[in-house]
Subunit: 414 residues, 2 copies
C-alpha cells in the first residue's frame, strides 16, 4: 500500500482528553479514532493489527479442537434471570434497551448464559460430548470510567470460548491444553516473556481461576511473580495456604504492576444446573454438563502491547502482528523505489510505501511512530553504492546492505 | 472436517414459530440457531458461508480502492441531532440505551453520521480526496416485525461503504465503478442472473438511488424488469417520465417479486453541509465534500440465496461460498474414505467427511440438506470397480468415476 493513498494520517498530538499512552500513540499513528470516552473506531492500520492478533488466536483455538460461532448482542431477560445476573444490582455493567413491544433486552457483556442455553439444542447424550465453542464477538460494558485507552472500553471485541465435557477429569485436561494454547498465543504476539500464568480467586465453583497477566506499568492489577516457576499469584489469593500449596515462600516473589490479558474459569455444573444443560450418560442416567470459559480480549491485548512495546519515537510491532512488514522510503528516487515496492510485494512481503512528497525526516518519524518492523530507504546515495539503507525498528542504527541481503532478510520473515 | 466432530447436527423440523423458508432450511441444516424473533446465532457451517460471502465483498471493495475500518455500535445523540435523525418519530428503528451518567446512546442502525463526523479529522484539503471507506459492522434495528428469517433481523452484519470526493462528476465515476463491482459480487455469489440494477427514488438529493434486486418469491418488493436492458424499476418510480427518460415502454416490462440485496445512494452535500465536512480547494476556497453510500447486507444476501438456490431436499450452495466443497461418505469403508479425505485435504480441497456410524440414506439426506456442491461415496461396490461414486448437488444422478477424474474435477474447482 502507498502512504499517499491511505486516508488516515499521523498527528502531532493526541486529543487532550486522552490520558492513556496506548491510545495516545494509536491515535497519533492513525490506528484508531476516538469517538467518545471508551468508544473507538478501528482505522485501516489498526484494524490490520487487530485482525492479525485475532488470526493468531483463531488458529490456536482451532488447534485445541474448538469450533467458531457468532452470537448476538441482544440478550433475553429471562435467560439471565435463571442465573440471577439480570438485575443491575447484581451486574453493574449492563447496557439495556427495549423492543418496540416494551420488552427489555440486554446488550451482551458476556455470552455464558446464551451459549449454555443454545447448547441444550445440541447436547443430549454423552456421545455429543466433548464440545468446544468459541467466538469473536462485540461486547458492550457500561463502565463507570473509561480511562485506559483501548485497554478498557465500553465496546470491544472479545474471544470467548466455552467447554462442555462430562467429568471434572476431562475438564482438567482441556483446561491444561487451553492454558498451553494461551501461552503459545502470547509468545506469538511477542509478549510471552512478560506474561505469566496467574492464580486468582475461583469464585464459588473452583479453588482457583487463572489469569494471564502481562507485566506493564499501565496495568490495573498487582501480581506476585515467582520468576523461576514462571507463575504468579494475584493479590486476592496471596495467602499462606495458597503459597504452601504451590510450594512457594513469600520472599521468592517479585511484586509487579500487571495487566490481565486472558482468563480461564472452571464453572463445574454451576451454569448447567440452573439452566438445565444435561446429558444422558452411558448408563442411561441424567448428568449435568461440566463447563469452563476461556477469554482473551484482542483489542485489550493490542492496548497492552502498545504500552509495553513502544518507545519515545512511537509504536514497535512484532513481525507477527505488524500492519505491514516494511516501511519503504524514497528520497527523490521514486522510480527505483517503485521497482523495489513491486518486487517485494510480488514476493509476498507486505510493504507500506511512503511515496509522499515530504522531507525525509518526516517520513522517518512516521516510520517510527507507526512501528513498522523494517525500514528501507532508496536514495541517490544508496543507488550509487548499489545498496539499500536498512534499519530495524528496534535498532537506532541504519546500515547499507545489498539488494540480495535485503531480500534474504525480508522474504524469510514474510 | 469430520461430521462426527461437528457439534451441530441436522434436525427433522425447524421451530414451529419460524415461517421463513430460508431460516427453516438453515436451522434444520444447523447453519444458524434461532435465539429470539429476529435474533440468530451463526453456527460453524453458517459462519463459513457468511465469511465466504464477506470475503468476496471485501475483495471487490478493495479493488475499487476502498479501505476497511470498523466503527462502533454506541452512537452519540448530538451527532444524529445535526441531521435530525435522533428522534424516534423521525427514525423508527432506533434501539437506545443509557450510560451510567444518564446520557443517552443510540445503537447504530446506520453509520453515515459517525463516518461523516470522523472524516473531518482526515479531510481538510483537496489533496485528501478522494477517500473511500467501508466496514463490515453489526447493525441493530428495532423492527416491529421480524418474519423473513435471516433476510430481515433485528441484528445483522452490514457492509457499508462511503465515498468522499470533490465534484458530482467524480462522484458519478465512482458510483458507476461501484455499480460494476456490485454486479461482479452478485455474479460471484451465484445470483448474478437473477439480480438486476434497479432504479429507485433518490430522496431529496438525487433523481434516483439504485437498488440491486434479486427475483425471489420471498422478496418484499415488486420490480418491473426490462430483461433485454438488464435493468429494473421499482414500484415507487414507475412513472411515465422515468420510463421515457430510460427509453422504455411499459409493455416491455415484466413484474416480479424481488428482494433487495444491495443499494447505492448519492448524498451530494446533504450530509457534509449540516455536519461541516468541507475541504479547501485548489483556489483556496472552502467547499463541501460530495458523498455517496453503498450497502450490502451479507447475511440478508445469504438468506436470499437460501430461498432461491434450494430445492425440496435442502440448500444448494454455489462453489464460491459453500462451507465445504465436498461431502465425503463412507459406506463401511472407513479406511479407504479416510485415505481419500487426507489426500483431498492435502490438495487444498475442503472436505466434510461423514464418518458417522449412520445408515447411508441418512448420510445422503444430510449431504443434500447441507447443500455441499460435490458428494463422493466410497463403498465396497466402488472399491471393487476401482472407482468412486460422484454426484453434484445440482444433479439427481450419481455416476461412477475414476480417482483421477475425481481429482481433476475437485482440485480444479478448489
Amino acid at each position: 500500500m502507498r502512504v499517499s493513498q491511505l486516508f488516515t494520517r499521523t498527528k502531532k498530538n493526541a486529543p487532550t482528553d486522552e490520558q492513556a499512552k496506548n491510545a495516545q500513540l494509536l491515535i497519533r499513528a492513525g490506528f484508531v479514532h476516538k469517538d467518545a470516552a471508551g468508544v473507538y473506531v478501528w482505522l485501516p492500520l489498526g484494524l490490520k493489527v487487530l485482525n492479525n492478533i485475532i488470526a493468531i488466536i483463531r488458529e490456536e483455538m482451532n488447534m485445541v479442537g474448538a469450533q467458531e460461532v457468532v452470537m448476538s448482542s441482544l440478550q433475553r431477560q429471562e435467560l439471565w434471570e435463571t442465573t440471577d445476573r439480570w438485575d443491575d444490582e447484581k451486574v453493574d455493567v449492563w447496557f439495556k434497551t427495549m423492543y418496540k413491544n416494551g420488552a427489555a433486552a440486554g446488550l451482551a457483556w458476556s455470552h455464558e448464559e446464551q451459549m449454555t442455553d443454545m447448547m441444550k439444542q445440541f447436547i443430549t447424550s454423552y456421545r455429543d460430548l466433548p464440545a468446544y465453542v468459541y467466538q469473536f464477538q462485540n461486547k458492550l460494558r457500561n463502565e463507570t470510567r473509561a480511562k485506559s485507552g483501548i485497554m478498557r472500553t465500553r465496546e470491544f471485541v472479545m474471544k470467548d470460548m466455552y467447554s462442555f465435557v462430562r467429568t471434572e477429569a476431562e475438564h482438567k485436561l482441556f483446561y491444561d491444553k487451553t492454558t498451553a494454547a494461551y501461552l503459545r498465543i502470547f509468545d506469538r504476539l511477542g509478549i510471552g516473556e512478560h506474561t505469566f500464568f496467574t492464580f486468582a480467586s475461583g469464585g464459588a465453583f473452583a479453588e482457583f481461576s487463572h489469569e494471564f497477566q502481562t507485566i506493564c506499568d499501565a496495568g490495573e492489577d498487582t501480581i506476585y511473580l515467582h520468576r523461576e516457576k514462571k507463575l504468579a499469584i494475584n493479590e486476592e489469593v496471596l495467602r499462606d495456604d495458597v503459597l504452601a500449596g504451590l510450594g512457594i515462600s513469600r520472599d521468592e516473589l517479585e511484586q509487579h504492576k500487571a495487566a490481565e490479558v486472558g482468563n480461564i474459569f472452571s464453572f463445574g455444573t454451576s451454569k448447567s444446573e440452573p439452566m438445565g444443560l444435561s446429558y444422558i450418560d452411558e448408563d442411561g442416567q441424567k448428568q449435568h454438563v461440566v463447563m469452563g470459559s476461556y477469554g482473551i480480549g484482542p483489542a485489550r491485548v493490542m492496548g497492552v502491547i502498545s504500552e509495553l512495546m513502544s518507545d519515545e519515537r512511537g509504536l514497535v510491532w512484532h513481525e507477527n502482528i505488524a500492519p505491514f512488514s516494511v516501511y519503504l522510503v524514497s528520497i527523490g528516487q521514486d522510480a527505483a523505489a517503485e521497482q523495489l515496492y513491486n518486487e517485494l510485494t510480488a514476493n509476498g512481503v507486505s510493504v507500506l510505501f511512503d511515496d509522499r512528497d515530504e522531507r525525509p525526516g518526516a517520513k522517518f518519524a512516521d516510520a517510527d511512530l507507526l512501528g513498522i518492523p523494517h525500514r528501507v530507504v532508496v536514495s541517490e546515495k544508496t543507488l550509487q553504492a548499489n545498496q539499500l539503507e536498512y534499519k530495524a525498528r528496534t535498532s537506532s542504527d541504519s546500515e547499507l546492505i545489498t539488494h540480495d541481503e535485503l531480500k534474504n532478510r525480508l522474504v524469510k520473515s514474510a
